[in-house]
Symmetry: C2
Subunit: 337 residues, 2 copies
């Protein structure tokens, strides 16, 4: 099982190893004749580049590390699809790892990726991450660090996000315009600015309509389908029900709707609901869910593009800190009253 090396090709073709190397890289200095000869021979002999030798030499790994909270989320996998597409088109490999929403696992993953010498790192933060010190070494070594969705303002690095404050505001305003006045908000860990900002937008919209913020109306959950079900139960256990709910993700909203309906609540007549993400689930719940379209695939492509751009620029350019992608409200039956 001996591997073919450039020396083997050199021997067979009668040129030097350097010429073989250049030919395989399509170096302009080599004559077409030799190039063709070498390339054909390489093909014939079943040669494949030893990327380790090459990387040892050039000190470029052509690898981008990715840390996401979890892989089994529609949103995340859509973003990853976009990242992978662009990375692949540019001959970059991805090493993908999941933090399982744990800051500790995130730190371990960051170390592992640091030690694998990824050329760059793309992160969406775990829900309970508070200290960013596990990313410090990337900054120190000037390894491009990029956040998407759940970002980080601590370092001078790019965040690719949507305007969560604005979308939280729009979601809530939409409910207000539909006549809702007692609007609950179901969200995730407020450590994550995505949730903090959606909450801020929610509060701003309420204030604009003269409704004071009531912390009793805000529910912090882990945003799963089951959390949606449990939150609905929580609603039902209270003295009075809301007439509208803004839920910061569609899966959770779907669970909530399902449980409310089982208890005889009519959606949207009794309670109107707005979700977030435009997950496929939002199109099949009954009634179909009004939601915020989150451009996941485009976000992935954008993240990947910016990363590769940074990787190509030897000198680190100064980028604006936040890149905003356009999100928009999609009105469906769950608020049609």
């Amino acid at each position: 099982m001996k591997e073919v090396t450039i020396y083997d090709i050199a021997r067979e073709t009668g040129v030097s190893a350097a010429t073989v190397s250049r030919s395989l890289k399509n170096n302009a200095a080599i004559s077409d004749k030799v190039k063709k000869l070498v390339q054909e021979k390489a093909e014939e002999m079943g040669y494949r580049t030893n990327t380790f030798a090459s990387r040892l030499r050039t000190k470029k790994t052509n690898t981008i590390g990715v840390i996401v909270p979890r892989l089994d989320s529609h949103f995340i996998s859509t973003v990853l699809a976009g990242i992978e597409k662009i990375a692949n088109d540019n001959d970059y490999n991805l090493i993908i790892s999941q933090s399982f929403e744990s800051a500790k696992k995130e730190a371990t993953n960051a170390s592992t990726l640091f030690n694998s010498r990824v050329d760059g790192l793309i992160v969406s933060l775990a829900s309970d991450t508070s200290s960013m010190k596990h990313f410090k070494k990337f900054i120190d070594k000037k390894i491009p660090l990029l956040f998407f969705d759940r970002g980080c303002q601590e370092f001078d690095c790019i965040n690719v996000v949507i305007d969560n404050e604005k979308m939280g505001y729009e979601a809530t305003k939409h409910l207000l315009e539909k006549g809702c006045r007692r609007i609950y908000h179901v969200s995730g860990n407020p450590n994550r600015d995505v949730y903090a900002k959606r909450l801020k937008g929610y509060t701003r919209a309420l204030n604009e309509f003269g409704i004071p913020f009531d912390p009793e109306w805000v529910f912090e959950t882990k945003m799963t389908i089951d959390d949606g079900i449990n939150t609905a139960k929580n609603f039902l256990s209270r003295e009075s029900l809301p007439d509208g709910v803004f839920i910061a993700n569609d899966a959770c909203a779907a669970g909530c709707i399902s449980e409310l309906k089982e208890n005889g609540i009519k959606i949207p007549e009794d309670i109107a609901i707005v979700g977030f993400n435009n997950d496929p689930i939002s199109r099949v719940v009954e009634p179909k869910l009004t939601t915020i379209h989150y451009p996941g695939y485009e976000m992935g492509e954008m993240v990947s593009k910016i990363m590769i751009e940074q990787l190509k620029n030897e000198e680190k350019e100064s980028f604006t800190n936040c890149v905003y992608l356009e999100a928009k409200l999609i009105e469906r039956q769950s608020t049609n009253k």
Copy 2:
């Protein structure tokens, strides 16, 4: 931005590079005193292994390649979550790429991964892959090749799957037992044995109940939500409707249910429906979807475990060709009549 090497540590500690290397690998031959000294110095100097030098030397990449049809599918991302978990626990990296359901892209990805010298390759086939020749080189080089879900019988390699024929049979039999007699089947490309086998199970169940197979009752689609909607429209355009439908994935089933309901069809009274996968979507459609629980995460873990086992065994053991995981029918309202 110079990297610290073992030579730097050797210089600082006054031992040789070889001793440093051994110490960092916890080699038993080195005295605890020296080991401790070296390890502390390494930490202090911010040393990190140069995996490329190491891999160049040892010819092990500690990397497993993965090719999946797409990343943005609940099922796939669940399996990947399982694969990543086990791989990570065993210090293996993953290079994940998507074929976008195209045999051509799959072949390109396979080549890329081959050239990156992955230690092993895990694949779930694209829907239109027919020739397996792009995997031949892995076989030739005795690089462990493993398929999951959408497998391949062409080579002597392991497939981690569920018993699709059986589950297709059970799904259909469930409908028959509920009194359905005119049962349609919506499926994917029959080139993929998952779909071929579900169809086979469907046919067997029908036969058992004395119902002849009618090709008019079988619909080949790409299995998306929109395909579900279109297939429902197709049903409605025909002279008579089915009284039961077995749909080979939940997203497609959800789309189908949604469209049927919009046209006044009652589920399950008029048409009972069984899906496949136990996707979260199956719990929030109305009525909740009877489906086949597909153990995605466990499948991922199993795939990863077997791969790592093969990687550890120097001599290739003979494995049974197919590893079956237990799937089971989950009865919900969509067949409750």
